[in-house]
Subunit: 106 residues, 2 copies
């Protein structure tokens, strides 16, 4: 399991604008090989959001970033630009232990 | 969906020790109400790890933190203390959009 997170600092008074842009976008993710889940997370700290995408493998994620789907999805991000403070911070993680409600995988 | 993350900075040369402690612990999570998934994530940045726990609701998470299961699980963390640099950073997130390979939930 591979997780890509992109952390945004948003003007706390403009959070609803940022959320709307995400709600209205077409993600093009659901049909991609190795895609598991996307979530837009809202932090307890004011104005903190994370775009949180889970893939079966890092290779699946990298294939997506090189696809037309990726370019199309990111072309829609324009309207959110004015409410984001600073640069988003990207970070990548490999799951080395996973334990779920149904099963244990190590 | 609620996600609790605890971010650890570990001496990069001691990462294998830190991982062993997590592999060998008893988590007591699988049977708890609202528990969805636990993952130990290893970041691309050297020495960065995140304990990443997903719950159906914040309330399910809070019930766990007040339980004997939580105390038992954290009693086992002692052996990792020497390899962790600084204090772990806890952060909490509510998912405001979720899209999975099988279905779309908003």
């Amino acid at each position: 399991m591979f997780i890509a997170m992109n952390r945004f600092s948003v003007d706390p008074e403009q959070g609803h604008v940022f959320e709307s842009v995400w709600r209205e976008r077409e993600s093009y993710l659901a049909d991609l090989d190795g895609f598991v889940q996307f979530a837009l997370l809202k932090g307890d700290d004011p104005g903190v959001y994370i775009s949180h995408t889970t893939w079966e493998t890092r290779n699946d994620f990298e294939s997506w970033t090189q696809s037309e789907h990726f370019k199309n999805a990111h072309r829609q991000a324009g309207p959110a630009t004015g409410v984001i403070l600073g640069h988003p911070e990207v970070s990548y993680y490999e799951a080395i232990l996973v334990e779920s409600a149904e099963s244990v995988v190590s």
